[in-house]
Symmetry: C2
Subunit: 524 residues, 2 copies
């Protein structure tokens, strides 16, 4: 067989050959992808990172960021405490705008760890964040879901639980994430309690805390203390939470309030400028990187003023807008360049790095969604991202969490995990015995080396249909989202919750009941 | 706007904002993607390559390949002339198997150029192959098409012409390719004449020659001489053609015959082991790389025995088989590792490198097709491939050329071309004026820098729908393949052939008529 030899006659032979190999549906059901397989620990990358900036480019951007911090400054809005901290640290505070002497934020960040462990209630699920580790977490934030009936509607707490369950079962998801969707059916001032409880109850992977108000961050910490114990939480990191800058160059009191709560309790913050380039930052990659670096330096350094040594990540959310419609776009070349560049800047700062995911603008889990997600995910991995939010389930520019997309994305994550293991150069990897045994003009299907390695040699997709056209026709002409739909249903039917100490469970329920009873429902 | 702030209320506002921004369909029609835009020259990569092997790994594989060449050897089947050449060159020939003294093929390849120009009949479309250049060519080989009615059927010469036309119009396709589909309605012994004519008549981009018989390669050269002149063809390269090894470790007389014809006329050959790892090579990446290197060394070196200095590429076609069904799989991690590693080996040999494309196993242009294609294409670009066959239109493991996939793929190629330009670090790229002008808490939409750069700042997709859900609903809930279908129809309706000297056209027609009259039709 060769590229030149696929004539119609040979194609026909190939079809018969494949069709004759028997029940593909049965085989698929037997695959590890047919149900949740062995849980994988976080990725320990054995591969290199990819870089798009040289030393000169990095220096230019770092110097420019220092200039922005000094001359333009960053607004810390409605937070007198933060402003006072900056004044005490030696910054020039004018109103709510802080101008930073050259090198101040960078020098403050020397106390931030380059690597930390986020502990899970199941110690086997604890993750390293930083260094050569990569951790995948699900989509974060969508108010809508695209459900298993193909209906796009507001998300509910039931959807929230479902996504936590699927993430718990997914071998390639290492972290339960945070707002896997917005449970719109729960009052806005109480839903964080149900969300945090769901992560604890329906998963044993590490999770994220609420950031939509300082008191909700305090609730998250309190609930974590019920699970882990008071002292444990103060001395270890059990939460990694998302703090967005209000770009350009503003942090608001909501985000700052949450940041201070988490840092004070030694919990990790991901300081992330949420950038749609062209709207929240300049239209160029270098300009965007400059602003991102300035914002991260200011926000991340504040955590060290609150508590030196508190873990903090250099976060980037890179997208562009369509200059024609203003809509966000994903999977295009410019955000990939931003991700690669930002990763380099984070490594030079010595901070763990968050970027990317499986981002797309498409409204459905079609080819657009997949091209865009794959482009984003490939650059995310090769950039060396340490924490990857939105790694599964993201649809429609982040407005919808999609079940089918979630199942397709986790398959892609599994591929990336295999890729990150790099090339095996052991004697078995070199396979010289196989080449000697088989020789010219034969095939490797039955040779000893193949027999010894076939089960783990190649990544086995849980979604892809690799069968012949005729077999695929006979099995109902299903598309990838249709297979993903069936898989999601099967997983949800067979889900079993991880054990949770009944005392802890009751403690959490009591805490939530008391909190909910203490205030009226609010829906805005 | 931030990841944390996409509440249902804000989502609703965002929807209204986007919907109010007006007629997306009209905007899309006005885009460069709505019709063929300005043709792009081949890619001159300003970015680095990505590598998966270190010096030690490369040395191991190179030494192992030398061992395979010496101990196991390569079969040159049914080609006494090739065997005699190898004997004269100092190889140990036993029957049809050639054993190579260590270093012989590598030493012969010193006369092969690391970079050459393939001339097109329109000099503006000539391409550099090798060095920092990347050239995209369409899918090659499928006997079937998936047509614009969504029907999967045998390909015809009309389909062939259509794909040549679309590739001619596509700004991001630099090369017309070869067997863009098999025109099954033309007798097998005559179709190469119609194929070569179509490339010359309906495009002015460079193209590939027939390799299915030595006399068909001679016909290709003869037709090229009608276009370019006899002396020009002998002294320049106007054809780059695909020579597959019959892996493992066999070259057959068909491929060898074509290779010798092209090399003798100073035309380029892409010596490519067609590898489905696990069947045609060991199941490991390092084992596959070893065999690929051995096969390429043997096949490519033969071109230099035929004519020292004839251009030859290090080709790789990397895929794996499903160990469960035997079917080929695409877009998985192992072939990406093979591509990256083979690119490194090719650079060390000093040969231009071919790999990858937009490969997939899916039967339809769905999410599976797109994930797999994007995974393949991303590794192709970052590996630093110089010539990329199958860069658009490949479906179903290469059994079908798909119009919709073609249109989606060329959009992705445009993105990669933009990515390969890297980060602009000019003063305009740094955008410090924009950051100073806008300052904290505002936006960049209307600032001078954005106004000056918005038209070229971001890649504009010809396929992606970035509009709001409501807008997308109002426009008919189209998926990416549906939009691609409309685009393909529009292009084919508006296609205009490039000018061709009537004397040349007549000369080609006369040649073809005489050739066709000289032999009876054959269909096998």
């Amino acid at each position: 067989m060769s590229e030149n030899a696929v004539s119609e006659q040979e194609a026909s032979t190939a079809r018969r050959g494949r069709a004759a190999s028997g029940g593909a549906a049965a085989r698929r059901a037997a695959r590890s992808g047919g149900g949740p397989g062995i849980q994988q620990t976080y990725i320990k990358r054995a591969i290199k990172v990819y870089e798009v900036l040289d030393e000169e480019g990095l220096s230019i951007i770092e110097n420019n960021a220092d200039t922005v911090l000094e001359e333009t400054g960053i607004i810390f809005r409605d937070d007198p405490e933060a402003l006072a901290m900056w004044k005490d640290a030696g910054a020039d505070v004018k109103g709510d705008r802080v101008h930073f002497p050259k090198g101040l934020p960078r020098s403050l960040l020397k106390t931030a760890p380059s690597v930390y462990t986020q502990h899970a209630r199941n110690p086997e699920r604890s993750v390293q964040i930083g260094g050569n580790a990569t951790v995948f977490a699900p989509v974060y934030g969508p108010p809508f879901v695209r459900d298993l009936e193909g209906v796009r509607r507001y998300a509910t707490i039931e959807d929230f639980r479902n996504f936590v369950k699927l993430a718990y079962m997914a071998p390639s998801i290492h972290h339960s994430g945070g707002t896997v969707c917005e449970p719109v059916d729960v009052p806005v001032n109480k839903r964080h309690l149900d969300m945090v409880y769901s992560h604890i109850k329906y998963s044993d992977k590490p999770f994220m805390g609420s950031v939509t108000a300082p008191e909700r961050a305090e609730d998250t910490v309190a609930m974590a203390k019920i699970v882990f114990g008071d002292d444990y939480v103060e001395n270890n990191t059990v939460l990694t939470s998302l703090i967005n800058a209000n770009s350009p160059m503003v942090f608001d009191d909501t985000m700052l309030g949450a940041l201070k709560v988490y840092a004070r309790h030694n919990q990790a913050c991901i300081v992330t400028p949420f950038i749609l380039a062209g709207a929240m930052s300049p239209v160029t990659v270098a300009g965007t990187l400059t602003q991102v670096l300035a914002e991260v330096l200011a926000g991340a350094a504040l955590t060290q003023l609150v508590r030196p040594g508190a873990p903090v990540l250099f976060g980037t959310f890179a997208s562009s807008i369509s200059m024609q419609s203003g809509a966000p776009t994903f999977g295009t070349p410019e955000p990939s360049l931003v991700s690669y560049g930002a990763a380099q800047l984070a490594r030079r700062l010595g901070l763990p790095f968050r970027t990317g995911g499986s981002l797309c603008a498409s409204k459905v889990p079609d080819a657009q969604a997949a091209y865009e997600s794959a482009n984003t995910l490939n650059s995310t991995i090769l950039a060396g991202a340490n924490f990857v939010l939105h790694s599964a389930g993201w649809l429609e520019g982040g407005l919808a969490s999609c079940y089918e997309k979630f199942m397709m994305d986790i398959d892609q994550l599994g591929m990336q995990q295999k890729f990150a293991a790099g090339v095996d150069l052991s004697e078995n990897g070199q396979a010289m015995d196989a080449i000697r045994q088989v020789g010219p003009g034969s095939h490797f299907l039955g040779c000893d080396h193949t027999q010894a390695n076939f089960q783990s040699a190649f990544y086995r997709s849980s979604i892809a249909d690799n069968n012949s056209y005729e077999q695929w026709l006979a099995e109902g002409e299903k598309t990838a989202p249709q297979r993903a739909n069936e898989l999601a249903r099967r997983w949800l039917e067979t889900y079993e919750a991880p054990p949770l100490d009944p005392g802890i469970d009751d403690g959490l329920k009591d805490y939530i009941a008391a909190k909910k009873a203490s205030m009226p429902d609010a829906f805005t």
